[in-house]
């Protein structure tokens, strides 16, 4: 009976999270289409929060990390920002990466799928998967960095927001300590797959 209640609460939390993310996201892609990113710390901080595909993938990284447990719970959120920044640097230096939008949509599908299926690959494989997708996310955002003195504040804000999305995922993923929580987290994984699929259909 208690488990059933927990399951309901976890499920409701998952649905609420997805609804909140959909509501918060006014644009339908990870990057600002016209390239007019606002500068400064707040501009950088807000930037990743206004792309639903980016948000769900970041939360998924944290969720999956929590699902996998140590050392993935800290390895994935530590690895992701640095690899993402490398992807951003590639974009800033003008090196093209094909299929960025498709890669971002696939990241939500694959990471959400991993959570939904409670997949537990070896940590090296998990890090490889997350790292590969981080390149696409970084590349999409890299071109948005404003030039000049504002770049540092913008980057710090941008990276912090991304990291906090991971931490939000980890915090939510800690529900996996309880059987009902595991179900709730897997339901959120299904939601992330659905969001990713919607973006993939747009990208193709």
């Amino acid at each position: 009976m208690r488990d059933h209640e927990h399951s309901n609460i976890a499920g409701a939390l998952g649905v609420a999270l997805i609804a909140a993310l959909v509501g918060a996201s006014q644009t339908a892609s990870a990057h600002i289409v016209d390239g007019s990113a606002t500068g400064g710390f707040m501009g950088g901080f807000a930037h990743p929060l206004f792309g639903l595909d980016h948000v769900v993938a970041m939360v998924a990284v944290g969720l999956w990390g929590a699902f996998l447990g140590p050392p993935a719970i800290w390895l994935l959120p530590i690895t992701f920002p640095m690899v993402m920044a490398t992807g951003g640097a590639i974009a800033i230096l003008g090196v093209p990466v094909p299929g960025v939008e498709i890669g971002i949509a696939l990241s939500a599908i694959v990471l959400g799928g991993m959570i939904a299926l409670a997949a537990r690959p070896p940590i090296a494989i998990a890090a490889l998967i997350v790292g590969a997708f981080a390149i696409f996310h970084g590349h999409a955002h890299g071109a948005e960095l404003p030039p000049g003195t504002d770049a540092v504040a913008f980057s710090v804000g941008f990276v912090m927001a991304t990291g906090l999305l991971h931490l939000a995922g980890i915090a939510f993923g800690l529900l996996t300590r309880w059987p009902a929580g595991r179900i709730g987290v897997r339901v959120v994984g299904v939601g992330i797959v659905l969001v990713g699929t919607a973006f993939l259909s747009k990208a193709i």
Partner: protein, 171 residues
């Protein structure tokens, strides 16, 4: 006198108001917190800072100090994130941070005395940040606290890598 005081305050605030400086100092402080000989790290930093200021006084021409500083911050951030800090490499990066920070802080003052006051303020401000942040981070002994510091290191590295790319693109 008020001009000197203002110059000193400007110098004190410089490491906190210049994001690239703050980023590097934060990364260095986190690394320093995990070093068994913190005083040696602080001493190396102070000496390198003094050498950099001496170069400014000797009217060294414009240097790519900002780019070097960001590359240094990225390397320090990666080391903090990886929880890996061989002593000699840590000392080398500390020296680079000190010298680059000094070379990237040329005073704007017109009067010589005010320029010196700004340099002195910058030196005190940078060292104070290092000592305070390293002392706080040194008390982070719980697993989750250590993990938090490593995540912070990865954020610093990521931010520095992005800005470094912007700098290279602009140059």
């Amino acid at each position: 006198m008020s001009g000197l005081l203002q110059a000193l305050i400007d110098g004190l605030l410089n490491p906190m108001t210049t994001p690239a400086h703050g980023l590097t100092l934060l990364a260095l402080a986190l690394l320093m917190a995990r070093q068994p000989q913190r005083f040696v790290v602080l001493l190396i930093f102070a000496l390198a800072l003094a050498a950099g200021f001496l170069a400014i006084v000797l009217a060294v021409e414009t240097t790519p100090a900002r780019t070097v500083l960001l590359a240094d911050a990225a390397a320090l951030g990666v080391m903090v994130a990886a929880s890996w800090a061989p002593k000699l490499l840590a000392w080398l990066l500390t020296a680079i941070a000190g010298a680059a920070l000094a070379l990237d802080s040329p005073p704007q003052a017109v009067r010589i005395a005010e320029a010196y006051a700004t340099l002195a303020g910058t030196a005190v401000g940078a060292c104070a940040i290092l000592v305070v942040v390293a002392a706080i981070a040194g008390h982070a002994n719980a697993d989750w606290q250590r993990l938090g510091l490593r995540i912070l290191g990865s954020w610093i590295a990521a931010s520095a890598i992005l800005v470094l790319a912007v700098q290279l693109r602009l140059s």
